[in-house]
Amino acid sequence: MDVLLGIGGSDDSLWALECAVERAQVAGDSLSVAVLDNPDSDRSREAVAERARTALADAGLGGDVRTLDGHPGSALVDLAEAEGFDRIVLGGGETSPLGKVQLGSIAEFVLLNATVSVTLIR
């Protein structure tokens, strides 16, 4: 399966990176990573891309890492559809001080607009 992971640098997206890499190894999937412009993230896109390249290389996965400009949700959906990915994987949101699950804005957009399957990592 060709899997496209979208990460913007939030904590839940980095957790998703870890899980997606592990899953791709087990399943023998091909994993590509798109680094998105998440305005809520403090981490630079270069740093996030570097982290993704390291994670893929360490796991012996050959997938590519690229940086997408513009509106993060639509850029990810467009890429997945243009290049025929089977699945989009994203971070599944963070928890509030009270413990409520809060879906990020990118995940919301992708869930409502993607025509391929979407997996949120918790």
């Binding site: 928890t95 509030s96 001080p97 009270l98 413990g99 919301e108």
Partner: protein
Amino acid sequence: MSRVYPDEVAGPYDAPPRSFTDREDRKTEIRRYDGEFEALAAMYDDFDPEDRAQGIPPADEERIREWLETITADGGINVLAWHGERVVGHATLVPDTDDGPTAYELAIFVLHDYQQAGIGGELIRGLLGAGRAAGVEHVWLTVERWNQPAVSLYETVGFEPSDTGSFELEMSARLR
């Protein structure tokens, strides 16, 4: 992160304790939480899964206890509704250190059989009164958009929408 809060002060409401008779004629007391952990946990063991919101309360007993230990820890403010020896409602303020030293997240839970009897309104007023007395200035919450009874209750006690751009509606209030 910085949230928008209304200019106007909500209430002010009186801090608990207080007693009242609910619309089903049940004598109910609102009191600050005072270490009655087992009675509180028992309420969540009886909680209708249909009334869960955004993953809380957690589904199994062990995780309910872990969650309650976190939110009843020092720094939080908890108010309970008692019917006799039974806890039937719980409202909580949990410090949100990301949003300044006086900001708190609010949530309220009422057992299914005790809903729509006026208990939620008494609980939330009691919680806001207790919060104000403890120096809480800013309170926010998220609520599922379709949950109109909850949204109306929050509006009645002084909450205003602060973020309308997400799945869940975020609302905020100023206590002081």
